[in-house]
Protein backbone atom coordinates (compact mmCIF):
# COMPACT_ATOMS: atom_id res chain seq x y z
CA UNK A 1 0.00 0.00 0.00
CA UNK A 2 1.27 3.46 0.72
CA UNK A 3 5.02 3.42 0.44
CA UNK A 4 5.52 6.29 2.82
CA UNK A 5 8.99 7.37 3.67
CA UNK A 6 10.19 10.12 5.88
CA UNK A 7 13.77 11.13 6.54
CA UNK A 8 14.99 11.10 10.16
CA UNK A 9 15.61 14.84 9.85
CA UNK A 10 12.00 15.52 8.86
CA UNK A 11 10.80 13.27 11.66
CA UNK A 12 12.94 15.14 14.20
CA UNK A 13 11.43 18.43 13.02
CA UNK A 14 7.91 16.99 13.28
CA UNK A 15 8.71 16.08 16.89
CA UNK A 16 10.17 19.52 17.64
CA UNK A 17 6.98 21.16 16.36
CA UNK A 18 4.74 18.85 18.35
CA UNK A 19 6.72 19.27 21.59
CA UNK A 20 6.79 23.06 21.28
CA UNK A 21 3.07 23.21 20.54
CA UNK A 22 2.35 20.93 23.49
CA UNK A 23 4.65 23.02 25.70
CA UNK A 24 3.19 26.36 24.66
CA UNK A 25 -0.27 25.18 25.72
CA UNK A 26 0.91 24.20 29.19
CA UNK A 27 0.20 27.12 31.48
CA UNK A 28 2.58 25.76 34.10
CA UNK A 29 5.55 25.69 31.75
CA UNK A 30 4.87 29.24 30.56
CA UNK A 31 4.65 30.47 34.15
CA UNK A 32 7.94 28.69 34.90
CA UNK A 33 9.64 30.56 32.06
CA UNK A 34 8.28 33.92 33.16
CA UNK A 35 9.05 33.45 36.84
CA UNK A 36 12.54 32.05 36.33
CA UNK A 37 13.47 34.78 33.87
CA UNK A 38 12.18 37.56 36.10
CA UNK A 39 13.67 36.24 39.31
CA UNK A 40 17.24 37.41 38.72
CA UNK A 41 16.49 40.88 37.31
CA UNK A 42 13.93 41.50 40.03
CA UNK A 43 16.26 40.47 42.83
CA UNK A 44 19.20 42.47 41.52
CA UNK A 45 17.02 45.51 40.95
CA UNK A 46 15.85 45.35 44.54
CA UNK A 47 19.33 44.88 46.01
CA UNK A 48 20.95 47.64 43.98
CA UNK A 49 18.18 50.11 44.50
CA UNK A 50 18.33 49.73 48.26
CA UNK A 51 22.15 49.92 48.17
CA UNK A 52 21.96 53.09 46.12
CA UNK A 53 19.42 54.77 48.33
CA UNK A 54 21.49 53.93 51.40
CA UNK A 55 24.54 55.45 49.75
CA UNK A 56 22.64 58.62 48.90
CA UNK A 57 21.56 58.94 52.53
CA UNK A 58 25.18 58.88 53.65
CA UNK A 59 26.22 61.55 51.21
CA UNK A 60 23.68 64.14 52.29
CA UNK A 61 24.21 63.80 55.98
CA UNK A 62 22.48 65.76 58.68
CA UNK A 63 24.36 65.62 61.98
CA UNK A 64 22.64 66.43 65.26
CA UNK A 65 25.10 68.13 67.61
CA UNK A 66 24.61 68.44 71.37
CA UNK A 67 26.60 71.28 72.98
CA UNK A 68 27.45 73.08 69.73
CA UNK A 69 28.16 76.19 71.79
CA UNK A 70 31.14 74.39 73.40
CA UNK A 71 33.03 74.18 70.09
CA UNK A 72 31.79 76.86 67.66
CA UNK A 73 34.89 76.52 65.45
CA UNK A 74 34.40 72.75 65.00
CA UNK A 75 30.70 73.19 64.23
CA UNK A 76 31.44 75.93 61.71
CA UNK A 77 34.05 73.72 60.04
CA UNK A 78 31.56 70.85 59.81
CA UNK A 79 28.97 73.17 58.35
CA UNK A 80 31.37 74.15 55.57
CA UNK A 81 31.84 70.53 54.45
CA UNK A 82 29.86 69.56 51.36
CA UNK A 83 26.53 67.90 52.02
CA UNK A 84 26.63 68.36 55.78
CA UNK A 85 23.75 69.90 57.66
CA UNK A 86 24.09 70.57 61.39
CA UNK A 87 20.93 70.23 63.44
CA UNK A 88 20.07 70.75 67.08
CA UNK A 89 20.87 67.59 69.09
CA UNK A 90 18.20 65.64 71.01
CA UNK A 91 17.72 65.92 74.78
CA UNK A 92 18.89 62.39 75.45
CA UNK A 93 21.33 61.37 72.67
CA UNK A 94 21.84 57.75 73.85
CA UNK A 95 18.10 57.13 74.02
CA UNK A 96 17.53 58.77 70.62
CA UNK A 97 20.10 56.51 68.97
CA UNK A 98 18.95 53.40 70.81
CA UNK A 99 15.39 53.93 69.63
CA UNK A 100 16.74 54.63 66.13
CA UNK A 101 15.29 58.14 66.02
CA UNK A 102 18.80 59.28 65.19
CA UNK A 103 21.60 57.32 63.51
CA UNK A 104 24.56 59.24 64.93
CA UNK A 105 24.80 62.15 67.37
CA UNK A 106 27.87 64.28 68.19
CA UNK A 107 28.07 65.31 71.81
CA UNK A 108 30.55 68.05 72.71
CA UNK A 109 31.22 68.13 76.48
CA UNK A 110 31.61 71.36 78.51
CA UNK A 111 35.35 70.84 79.03
CA UNK A 112 36.03 70.76 75.25
CA UNK A 113 37.16 74.39 74.87
CA UNK A 114 39.29 74.21 78.06
CA UNK A 115 41.22 71.15 76.85
CA UNK A 116 41.31 72.46 73.28
CA UNK A 117 42.83 75.73 74.37
CA UNK A 118 45.40 73.85 76.48
CA UNK A 119 46.34 71.68 73.48
CA UNK A 120 45.22 68.58 75.33
CA UNK A 121 43.09 65.95 73.56
CA UNK A 122 39.64 67.46 73.60
CA UNK A 123 36.91 64.87 73.83
CA UNK A 124 34.06 64.58 71.34
CA UNK A 125 31.54 61.83 71.90
CA UNK A 126 30.09 60.04 68.85
CA UNK A 127 26.91 58.25 69.86
CA UNK A 128 26.09 55.40 67.47
CA UNK A 129 24.52 51.96 67.39
CA UNK A 130 27.03 49.43 66.05
CA UNK A 131 24.36 46.80 65.51
CA UNK A 132 22.52 48.91 62.98
CA UNK A 133 23.64 48.05 59.43
CA UNK A 134 21.78 50.96 57.91
CA UNK A 135 23.53 53.65 59.92
CA UNK A 136 27.03 52.32 59.32
CA UNK A 137 27.89 54.47 56.25
CA UNK A 138 26.68 57.60 58.04
CA UNK A 139 28.60 56.85 61.24
CA UNK A 140 31.75 56.22 59.19
CA UNK A 141 31.26 59.52 57.41
CA UNK A 142 30.88 61.45 60.67
CA UNK A 143 33.89 59.72 62.20
CA UNK A 144 35.95 60.54 59.13
CA UNK A 145 34.96 64.18 59.32
CA UNK A 146 35.94 64.44 62.99
CA UNK A 147 39.29 62.71 62.39
CA UNK A 148 40.05 65.04 59.54
CA UNK A 149 39.28 68.07 61.67
CA UNK A 150 41.52 66.68 64.41
CA UNK A 151 44.47 66.11 62.11
CA UNK A 152 44.06 69.51 60.44
CA UNK A 153 44.16 71.27 63.81
CA UNK A 154 47.10 69.08 64.89
CA UNK A 155 49.06 70.02 61.77
CA UNK A 156 48.36 73.70 62.33
CA UNK A 157 49.65 73.40 65.92
CA UNK A 158 52.88 71.75 64.77
CA UNK A 159 53.42 74.42 62.13
CA UNK A 160 52.84 77.10 64.80
CA UNK A 161 55.66 75.46 66.81
CA UNK A 162 57.93 75.41 63.79
CA UNK A 163 57.69 71.64 63.24
CA UNK A 164 56.73 70.05 59.98
CA UNK A 165 53.46 68.08 60.34
CA UNK A 166 55.19 65.28 58.40
CA UNK A 167 57.23 64.48 61.52
CA UNK A 168 54.05 63.30 63.20
CA UNK A 169 53.32 60.93 60.39
CA UNK A 170 55.73 58.08 61.11
CA UNK A 171 54.05 55.59 58.85
CA UNK A 172 51.90 56.35 55.91
CA UNK A 173 49.50 53.72 54.67
CA UNK A 174 48.90 53.67 50.98
CA UNK A 175 45.85 51.71 49.88
CA UNK A 176 46.54 49.92 46.66
CA UNK A 177 43.29 48.61 45.25
CA UNK A 178 44.06 45.85 42.79
CA UNK A 179 40.65 45.40 41.27
CA UNK A 180 39.38 48.02 38.92
CA UNK A 181 36.07 49.52 39.90
CA UNK A 182 34.47 47.54 37.08
CA UNK A 183 35.91 44.36 38.53
CA UNK A 184 34.64 45.31 41.95
CA UNK A 185 31.24 45.77 40.40
CA UNK A 186 31.58 42.39 38.73
CA UNK A 187 32.19 40.85 42.14
CA UNK A 188 29.00 42.36 43.43
CA UNK A 189 27.29 41.27 40.29
CA UNK A 190 28.95 37.85 40.50
CA UNK A 191 25.70 36.05 40.93
CA UNK A 192 24.28 37.28 37.64
CA UNK A 193 25.96 34.47 35.62
CA UNK A 194 24.55 31.90 38.00
CA UNK A 195 21.07 33.29 37.53
CA UNK A 196 21.31 33.47 33.75
CA UNK A 197 22.47 29.85 33.56
CA UNK A 198 19.83 28.69 36.02
CA UNK A 199 17.22 30.36 33.81
CA UNK A 200 18.31 28.00 31.05
CA UNK A 201 18.01 25.07 33.40
CA UNK A 202 14.53 25.85 34.70
CA UNK A 203 13.28 26.94 31.28
CA UNK A 204 13.98 23.51 29.81
CA UNK A 205 12.71 21.43 32.71
CA UNK A 206 9.12 21.20 31.46
CA UNK A 207 9.98 19.62 28.12
CA UNK A 208 12.82 17.51 29.54
CA UNK A 209 10.51 15.81 32.01
CA UNK A 210 7.25 15.91 30.06
CA UNK A 211 8.68 14.42 26.88
CA UNK A 212 10.47 11.54 28.63
CA UNK A 213 9.13 10.38 31.98
CA UNK A 214 5.87 12.21 31.32
CA UNK A 215 5.44 10.45 28.01
CA UNK A 216 5.83 7.09 29.69
CA UNK A 217 3.58 7.99 32.61
CA UNK A 218 0.80 8.94 30.18
CA UNK A 219 1.35 5.69 28.30
CA UNK A 220 2.04 7.40 24.99
CA UNK A 221 5.65 6.23 24.72
CA UNK A 222 4.88 2.84 23.19
CA UNK A 223 2.70 4.32 20.47
CA UNK A 224 5.35 6.93 19.64
CA UNK A 225 8.19 4.41 19.44
CA UNK A 226 6.23 2.13 17.11
CA UNK A 227 6.56 4.83 14.45
CA UNK A 228 9.29 4.16 11.91
CA UNK A 229 11.46 6.97 13.27
CA UNK A 230 14.97 6.10 14.46
CA UNK A 231 15.31 6.50 18.23
CA UNK A 232 18.01 9.10 17.63
CA UNK A 233 15.58 11.21 15.58
CA UNK A 234 12.98 10.98 18.36
CA UNK A 235 15.49 11.88 21.07
CA UNK A 236 16.97 14.65 18.94
CA UNK A 237 13.56 16.20 18.27
CA UNK A 238 12.73 16.31 21.95
CA UNK A 239 16.18 17.61 22.78
CA UNK A 240 15.98 20.38 20.19
CA UNK A 241 12.58 21.48 21.47
CA UNK A 242 13.91 21.58 25.04
CA UNK A 243 17.00 23.48 23.92
CA UNK A 244 14.85 26.10 22.22
CA UNK A 245 12.83 26.68 25.40
CA UNK A 246 16.04 26.90 27.44
CA UNK A 247 17.49 29.43 25.03
CA UNK A 248 14.25 31.42 25.02
CA UNK A 249 14.32 31.65 28.81
CA UNK A 250 17.97 32.69 28.78
CA UNK A 251 17.30 35.35 26.14
CA UNK A 252 14.35 36.77 28.10
CA UNK A 253 16.40 36.80 31.30
CA UNK A 254 19.34 38.51 29.63
CA UNK A 255 17.07 41.02 27.91
CA UNK A 256 15.38 41.92 31.18
CA UNK A 257 18.73 42.23 32.95
CA UNK A 258 20.11 44.60 30.38
CA UNK A 259 16.93 46.67 30.25
CA UNK A 260 17.11 46.88 34.03
CA UNK A 261 20.74 47.97 34.16
CA UNK A 262 19.82 50.97 32.06
CA UNK A 263 17.47 52.05 34.87
CA UNK A 264 19.75 51.35 37.83
CA UNK A 265 21.49 54.29 39.56
CA UNK A 266 24.86 52.52 39.43
CA UNK A 267 26.87 55.75 39.38
CA UNK A 268 25.42 56.54 42.82
CA UNK A 269 27.25 53.46 44.04
CA UNK A 270 30.51 54.54 42.52
CA UNK A 271 30.29 51.64 40.09
CA UNK A 272 31.29 52.25 36.55
CA UNK A 273 29.48 49.24 35.22
CA UNK A 274 28.60 49.13 31.59
CA UNK A 275 26.30 46.57 30.10
CA UNK A 276 25.88 47.61 26.53
CA UNK A 277 25.01 45.62 23.45
CA UNK A 278 28.51 44.06 23.07
CA UNK A 279 28.43 42.73 26.64
CA UNK A 280 24.95 41.37 26.08
CA UNK A 281 26.01 39.63 22.87
CA UNK A 282 28.99 38.09 24.61
CA UNK A 283 26.85 36.92 27.51
CA UNK A 284 24.48 35.20 25.11
CA UNK A 285 27.43 33.74 23.18
CA UNK A 286 28.58 32.13 26.41
CA UNK A 287 25.31 30.86 27.85
CA UNK A 288 23.42 29.76 24.72
CA UNK A 289 25.91 26.99 23.77
CA UNK A 290 25.52 25.65 27.31
CA UNK A 291 21.77 25.12 26.82
CA UNK A 292 22.05 22.05 24.53
CA UNK A 293 24.21 20.32 27.13
CA UNK A 294 21.95 21.23 30.05
CA UNK A 295 18.91 19.87 28.20
CA UNK A 296 20.72 16.72 27.05
CA UNK A 297 21.72 15.91 30.63
CA UNK A 298 18.25 16.70 31.94
CA UNK A 299 16.66 14.39 29.40
CA UNK A 300 19.11 11.60 30.05
CA UNK A 301 18.36 11.73 33.77
CA UNK A 302 14.60 12.15 33.31
CA UNK A 303 14.46 9.14 30.99
CA UNK A 304 15.34 6.92 33.95
CA UNK A 305 12.48 8.26 36.05
CA UNK A 306 9.24 6.32 36.22
CA UNK A 307 7.01 9.33 36.60
CA UNK A 308 6.90 13.03 35.95
CA UNK A 309 7.21 13.75 39.67
CA UNK A 310 10.19 11.45 40.05
CA UNK A 311 11.88 13.14 37.11
CA UNK A 312 11.30 16.54 38.64
CA UNK A 313 12.89 15.56 41.92
CA UNK A 314 15.92 14.10 40.10
CA UNK A 315 16.30 17.37 38.24
CA UNK A 316 16.02 19.42 41.42
CA UNK A 317 19.00 17.49 42.79
CA UNK A 318 20.82 18.06 39.54
CA UNK A 319 20.14 21.78 39.75
CA UNK A 320 21.55 22.00 43.26
CA UNK A 321 24.60 20.00 42.22
CA UNK A 322 25.16 22.41 39.35
CA UNK A 323 24.97 25.39 41.65
CA UNK A 324 27.76 24.25 43.96
CA UNK A 325 30.78 25.10 41.74
CA UNK A 326 29.14 28.38 40.82
CA UNK A 327 28.65 29.30 44.44
CA UNK A 328 32.25 28.39 45.24
CA UNK A 329 33.44 30.61 42.42
CA UNK A 330 31.28 33.50 43.54
CA UNK A 331 32.61 33.20 47.06
CA UNK A 332 36.16 32.96 45.74
CA UNK A 333 36.95 29.73 47.52
CA UNK A 334 38.03 28.10 44.29
CA UNK A 335 41.13 29.31 42.54
CA UNK A 336 40.58 30.15 38.90
CA UNK A 337 42.91 27.89 36.98
CA UNK A 338 43.03 28.32 33.23
CA UNK A 339 41.80 24.81 32.40
CA UNK A 340 38.65 25.42 34.41
CA UNK A 341 37.46 27.61 31.54
CA UNK A 342 36.90 24.44 29.54
CA UNK A 343 34.81 22.71 32.19
CA UNK A 344 31.12 23.14 31.36
CA UNK A 345 29.14 25.28 33.77
CA UNK A 346 32.22 26.42 35.72
CA UNK A 347 33.84 27.73 32.55
CA UNK A 348 30.73 29.66 31.56
CA UNK A 349 30.54 31.26 34.96
CA UNK A 350 34.20 32.31 34.82
CA UNK A 351 33.81 33.66 31.29
CA UNK A 352 30.72 35.60 32.28
CA UNK A 353 32.46 37.09 35.29
CA UNK A 354 35.30 38.21 33.01
CA UNK A 355 32.96 39.67 30.41
CA UNK A 356 30.93 41.56 32.97
CA UNK A 357 34.16 42.76 34.61
CA UNK A 358 35.42 43.97 31.24
CA UNK A 359 38.43 41.66 31.27
CA UNK A 360 39.54 40.82 27.76
CA UNK A 361 38.61 37.31 26.64
CA UNK A 362 39.94 35.84 23.43
CA UNK A 363 37.41 34.79 20.81
CA UNK A 364 39.13 31.43 20.57
CA UNK A 365 38.16 30.59 24.15
CA UNK A 366 34.53 31.40 23.34
CA UNK A 367 34.58 29.13 20.34
CA UNK A 368 36.40 26.26 22.05
CA UNK A 369 34.10 26.38 25.08
CA UNK A 370 31.05 26.43 22.80
CA UNK A 371 32.30 23.51 20.73
CA UNK A 372 33.12 21.44 23.83
CA UNK A 373 29.60 21.98 25.16
CA UNK A 374 27.80 21.11 21.96
CA UNK A 375 30.00 18.03 21.44
CA UNK A 376 29.26 16.81 24.97
CA UNK A 377 25.56 17.49 24.37
CA UNK A 378 25.58 15.29 21.29
CA UNK A 379 27.38 12.53 23.20
CA UNK A 380 24.79 12.62 26.00
CA UNK A 381 21.99 12.72 23.39
CA UNK A 382 23.35 9.53 21.86
CA UNK A 383 23.27 8.01 25.33
CA UNK A 384 19.60 8.93 25.68
CA UNK A 385 18.85 7.49 22.28
CA UNK A 386 20.55 4.24 23.36
CA UNK A 387 18.37 4.19 26.49
CA UNK A 388 15.28 4.29 24.27
CA UNK A 389 16.26 0.86 22.93
CA UNK A 390 16.08 -0.71 26.37
CA UNK A 391 12.90 -2.61 27.13
CA UNK A 392 13.12 -1.66 30.78
CA UNK A 393 13.08 2.02 29.82
CA UNK A 394 10.32 1.69 27.22
CA UNK A 395 7.93 -0.27 29.38
CA UNK A 396 9.05 1.09 32.74
CA UNK A 397 9.65 -2.24 34.39
Amino acid sequence: MAANTSSPMTQAIVIVRKELRDWSRDRRSIITVLVSSMLAPGLIFFVFNSMASRQRLAEDVSIPVVGAANAPALVDWLRQQAGVIITEGPEDPEEAVRTRREEAVIVIPDNFSKNFAASKPAQVRLVADGSSQNSRPKVQRVRGLLQRYGSEIGSLRLIARGISPLVATAVQIEDVEVSSSQQRAAQILGFIPLFVMLAGFTGAMSISTDSTAGERERGSFEALLVNPAPRLAIAAGKWLAGTLTAMLTVAITAGLLFAMFKQLPLQDLGIRFRLGTPEMMRTLAIVLPLCPLIVAIQMYVATFAKSFKEAQSYLSFLMMAQMIPGMMLTMNTMSTKAWLYYVPWIGQQMLLTDVLGNKPVSTLVFVVVGVINVALAVAVLRGTSALLHREKIIFGR
Binding site: A2, S220, A223, V226
Partner: protein
Protein backbone atom coordinates in the same frame (compact mmCIF):
# COMPACT_ATOMS: atom_id res chain seq x y z
CA UNK B 1 0.96 -10.89 6.05
CA UNK B 2 2.51 -11.88 9.31
CA UNK B 3 4.31 -15.08 10.20
CA UNK B 4 5.65 -15.95 13.63
CA UNK B 5 7.83 -18.98 14.28
CA UNK B 6 8.82 -20.46 17.64
CA UNK B 7 8.86 -17.20 19.57
CA UNK B 8 10.39 -17.17 23.08
CA UNK B 9 10.63 -14.45 25.70
CA UNK B 10 11.36 -14.77 29.38
CA UNK B 11 11.45 -12.23 32.20
CA UNK B 12 13.70 -13.60 34.92
CA UNK B 13 12.33 -17.06 35.67
CA UNK B 14 8.99 -16.45 34.01
CA UNK B 15 8.52 -17.80 30.53
CA UNK B 16 6.10 -15.19 29.25
CA UNK B 17 6.11 -16.52 25.70
CA UNK B 18 7.24 -20.08 25.25
CA UNK B 19 7.44 -21.25 21.66
CA UNK B 20 4.61 -19.39 19.95
CA UNK B 21 4.02 -19.92 16.23
CA UNK B 22 1.14 -18.68 14.11
CA UNK B 23 0.35 -16.69 10.99
CA UNK B 24 -2.03 -13.93 9.98
CA UNK B 25 -3.12 -13.70 6.36
CA UNK B 26 -4.01 -10.72 4.16
CA UNK B 27 -7.71 -9.86 4.00
CA UNK B 28 -8.36 -11.77 7.19
CA UNK B 29 -9.00 -10.91 10.78
CA UNK B 30 -6.97 -13.00 13.18
CA UNK B 31 -7.81 -12.99 16.86
CA UNK B 32 -5.27 -13.71 19.57
CA UNK B 33 -7.45 -14.99 22.36
CA UNK B 34 -6.29 -15.78 25.86
CA UNK B 35 -6.86 -15.06 29.53
CA UNK B 36 -5.04 -12.20 31.25
CA UNK B 37 -1.34 -12.94 31.63
CA UNK B 38 -1.31 -15.56 28.87
CA UNK B 39 1.37 -13.75 26.87
CA UNK B 40 -0.78 -11.85 24.34
CA UNK B 41 0.72 -8.44 24.97
CA UNK B 42 4.27 -9.76 25.10
CA UNK B 43 3.77 -11.56 21.79
CA UNK B 44 2.38 -8.42 20.19
CA UNK B 45 5.16 -6.25 21.62
CA UNK B 46 7.74 -8.51 19.98
CA UNK B 47 5.71 -8.39 16.79
CA UNK B 48 5.57 -4.60 16.74
CA UNK B 49 9.33 -4.53 17.41
CA UNK B 50 9.50 -2.83 20.80
CA UNK B 51 10.65 -6.06 22.44
CA UNK B 52 13.37 -8.36 21.21
CA UNK B 53 12.54 -12.05 21.29
CA UNK B 54 15.04 -14.33 23.03
CA UNK B 55 14.52 -16.73 20.20
CA UNK B 56 12.30 -17.15 17.16
CA UNK B 57 11.40 -15.52 13.91
CA UNK B 58 8.96 -12.78 12.94
CA UNK B 59 8.31 -11.93 9.30
CA UNK B 60 6.09 -9.02 8.24
CA UNK B 61 5.42 -8.79 4.50
CA UNK B 62 8.70 -10.55 3.83
CA UNK B 63 10.69 -8.31 6.20
CA UNK B 64 12.52 -9.96 9.09
CA UNK B 65 11.21 -7.83 11.97
CA UNK B 66 13.90 -9.03 14.39
CA UNK B 67 16.78 -8.13 12.09
CA UNK B 68 15.19 -5.01 10.59
CA UNK B 69 12.72 -3.55 13.10
CA UNK B 70 12.84 -0.17 11.39
CA UNK B 71 11.75 -1.64 8.06
CA UNK B 72 8.98 -3.68 9.67
CA UNK B 73 7.57 -0.59 11.40
CA UNK B 74 6.83 1.01 8.02
CA UNK B 75 4.53 -1.91 7.26
CA UNK B 76 2.75 -1.85 10.64
CA UNK B 77 -0.03 0.18 12.18
CA UNK B 78 -0.22 -0.44 15.90
CA UNK B 79 -2.65 0.26 18.69
CA UNK B 80 -0.36 -0.73 21.57
CA UNK B 81 -1.23 -1.97 25.02
CA UNK B 82 -0.66 1.53 26.33
CA UNK B 83 -2.21 4.08 24.03
CA UNK B 84 -1.92 7.25 26.04
CA UNK B 85 -2.63 10.59 24.41
CA UNK B 86 -1.27 14.11 24.86
CA UNK B 87 -3.94 15.98 26.85
CA UNK B 88 -3.13 19.38 25.37
CA UNK B 89 -3.40 18.30 21.73
CA UNK B 90 -6.62 17.89 19.75
CA UNK B 91 -7.74 14.61 18.17
CA UNK B 92 -6.84 15.97 14.75
CA UNK B 93 -3.36 16.97 15.92
CA UNK B 94 -2.77 13.46 17.26
CA UNK B 95 -3.67 11.91 13.94
CA UNK B 96 -1.60 14.42 11.98
CA UNK B 97 1.42 14.04 14.28
CA UNK B 98 1.64 10.32 13.63
CA UNK B 99 0.83 10.78 9.96
CA UNK B 100 3.74 13.19 9.57
CA UNK B 101 6.08 10.81 11.41
CA UNK B 102 5.05 8.16 8.88
CA UNK B 103 5.73 10.53 5.99
CA UNK B 104 2.15 11.45 5.08
CA UNK B 105 1.94 15.19 4.36
CA UNK B 106 -0.05 18.05 2.94
CA UNK B 107 -3.46 17.56 1.31
CA UNK B 108 -3.08 13.79 1.53
CA UNK B 109 -2.71 13.98 5.32
CA UNK B 110 -5.66 16.34 5.67
CA UNK B 111 -8.02 14.21 3.61
CA UNK B 112 -7.01 11.02 5.43
CA UNK B 113 -7.49 12.70 8.78
CA UNK B 114 -10.92 13.98 7.79
CA UNK B 115 -11.85 10.58 6.47
CA UNK B 116 -10.82 8.82 9.70
CA UNK B 117 -12.62 11.36 11.91
CA UNK B 118 -15.77 10.88 9.86
CA UNK B 119 -15.51 7.10 9.89
CA UNK B 120 -15.10 7.09 13.67
CA UNK B 121 -17.96 9.56 14.10
CA UNK B 122 -15.61 12.16 15.63
CA UNK B 123 -15.93 15.07 13.22
CA UNK B 124 -17.66 17.24 15.82
CA UNK B 125 -14.94 16.78 18.43
CA UNK B 126 -11.93 16.52 16.12
CA UNK B 127 -10.62 19.96 17.02
CA UNK B 128 -11.11 19.62 20.75
CA UNK B 129 -8.27 18.87 23.11
CA UNK B 130 -8.37 15.26 24.20
CA UNK B 131 -8.11 16.13 27.91
CA UNK B 132 -11.88 16.00 28.27
CA UNK B 133 -12.45 12.92 26.10
CA UNK B 134 -14.27 9.80 27.26
CA UNK B 135 -12.48 6.46 27.24
CA UNK B 136 -14.19 5.56 23.97
CA UNK B 137 -13.19 8.81 22.31
CA UNK B 138 -9.61 8.32 23.45
CA UNK B 139 -9.45 4.81 22.05
CA UNK B 140 -10.90 5.96 18.74
CA UNK B 141 -8.31 8.77 18.56
CA UNK B 142 -5.51 6.29 19.29
CA UNK B 143 -6.87 3.93 16.65
CA UNK B 144 -7.11 6.68 14.06
CA UNK B 145 -3.50 7.79 14.60
CA UNK B 146 -2.39 4.15 14.38
CA UNK B 147 -3.82 3.66 10.88
CA UNK B 148 -3.50 7.16 9.39
CA UNK B 149 -0.70 6.00 7.08
CA UNK B 150 -2.86 3.17 5.72
CA UNK B 151 -0.56 0.37 6.90
CA UNK B 152 -0.73 -3.04 5.31
CA UNK B 153 -0.74 -4.80 8.66
CA UNK B 154 -2.78 -3.62 11.63
CA UNK B 155 -2.08 -4.84 15.16
CA UNK B 156 -4.56 -3.99 17.90
CA UNK B 157 -3.93 -4.89 21.54
CA UNK B 158 -7.29 -5.29 23.28
CA UNK B 159 -8.89 -2.55 21.20
CA UNK B 160 -12.36 -2.81 22.72
CA UNK B 161 -11.29 -3.19 26.33
CA UNK B 162 -13.55 -1.10 28.55
CA UNK B 163 -15.44 0.53 25.69
CA UNK B 164 -19.16 1.25 25.69
CA UNK B 165 -21.49 -0.25 23.09
CA UNK B 166 -21.27 2.57 20.55
CA UNK B 167 -17.49 2.82 20.64
CA UNK B 168 -17.17 -0.96 20.40
CA UNK B 169 -19.35 -0.86 17.29
CA UNK B 170 -17.21 1.84 15.73
CA UNK B 171 -14.04 -0.17 16.36
CA UNK B 172 -15.59 -3.33 14.93
CA UNK B 173 -16.73 -1.37 11.91
CA UNK B 174 -13.15 -0.20 11.32
CA UNK B 175 -11.81 -3.73 11.68
CA UNK B 176 -14.32 -5.06 9.12
CA UNK B 177 -13.52 -2.26 6.74
CA UNK B 178 -9.77 -2.90 7.00
CA UNK B 179 -10.40 -6.55 6.28
CA UNK B 180 -12.49 -5.71 3.21
CA UNK B 181 -9.73 -3.47 1.94
CA UNK B 182 -7.34 -6.41 2.09
CA UNK B 183 -5.35 -5.54 5.21
CA UNK B 184 -3.97 -8.07 7.63
CA UNK B 185 -5.67 -7.46 10.96
CA UNK B 186 -4.42 -9.10 14.13
CA UNK B 187 -6.02 -8.20 17.41
CA UNK B 188 -5.86 -9.58 20.90
CA UNK B 189 -8.69 -9.98 23.32
CA UNK B 190 -9.72 -11.91 26.36
CA UNK B 191 -13.38 -11.55 25.43
CA UNK B 192 -14.86 -14.55 23.67
CA UNK B 193 -17.77 -12.75 21.99
CA UNK B 194 -15.47 -10.13 20.57
CA UNK B 195 -13.29 -12.66 18.85
CA UNK B 196 -16.07 -14.91 17.59
CA UNK B 197 -17.95 -11.97 16.09
CA UNK B 198 -15.03 -10.68 14.04
CA UNK B 199 -12.39 -13.29 13.39
CA UNK B 200 -11.75 -15.57 10.51
CA UNK B 201 -9.05 -17.31 12.47
CA UNK B 202 -8.68 -17.59 16.21
CA UNK B 203 -5.38 -18.34 17.92
CA UNK B 204 -5.83 -19.36 21.54
CA UNK B 205 -2.89 -18.66 23.80
CA UNK B 206 -2.43 -19.73 27.41
CA UNK B 207 0.62 -19.71 29.70
CA UNK B 208 2.79 -18.50 26.85
CA UNK B 209 1.86 -21.33 24.49
CA UNK B 210 -0.53 -21.73 21.59
CA UNK B 211 -3.15 -24.22 22.72
CA UNK B 212 -5.39 -24.16 19.69
CA UNK B 213 -6.02 -22.36 16.43
CA UNK B 214 -8.34 -22.32 13.45
CA UNK B 215 -11.74 -21.01 12.51
CA UNK B 216 -14.43 -20.91 15.21
CA UNK B 217 -15.85 -24.14 13.77
CA UNK B 218 -12.44 -25.80 13.79
CA UNK B 219 -12.04 -24.97 17.46
CA UNK B 220 -15.43 -26.38 18.34
CA UNK B 221 -14.57 -29.54 16.48
CA UNK B 222 -11.10 -29.82 18.07
CA UNK B 223 -12.45 -29.64 21.59
CA UNK B 224 -15.72 -31.44 21.04
CA UNK B 225 -17.59 -28.52 22.59
CA UNK B 226 -20.66 -27.02 20.90
CA UNK B 227 -20.21 -23.71 22.61
CA UNK B 228 -17.21 -21.60 21.65
CA UNK B 229 -16.82 -20.32 25.19
CA UNK B 230 -16.60 -23.88 26.50
CA UNK B 231 -14.08 -24.59 23.79
CA UNK B 232 -12.01 -21.60 24.93
CA UNK B 233 -12.15 -22.70 28.58
CA UNK B 234 -11.20 -26.23 27.61
CA UNK B 235 -8.26 -25.07 25.51
CA UNK B 236 -6.85 -22.58 27.94
CA UNK B 237 -7.04 -24.99 30.84
CA UNK B 238 -8.91 -22.53 33.01
CA UNK B 239 -11.13 -25.12 34.68
CA UNK B 240 -11.03 -25.45 38.44
CA UNK B 241 -8.58 -27.89 39.98
CA UNK B 242 -9.49 -31.56 39.95
CA UNK B 243 -11.61 -31.47 36.82
CA UNK B 244 -10.40 -32.84 33.52
CA UNK B 245 -9.27 -30.21 31.13
Amino acid sequence: MISIQNLHKRFGDVRAVDGVSFGAADGQVTGLLGPNGAGKTTTLRMLYTLMRPDQGQIVVDGIDAVADPQGARFALGVLPDQSGLYPRLTAREHIEYFGELQGVTGADLRSRTDHLLKMLDMTAIGDRRVAGFSHGERTKTALARAIVHNPKNVLLDEPTNGLDVMSTRAVREIIRRLKDEGHTVLFSSHVMQEVSALCDTIVVIARGRIVGSGSPDDLRRQTGQDNLEDAFVALSGLEPEGQPS
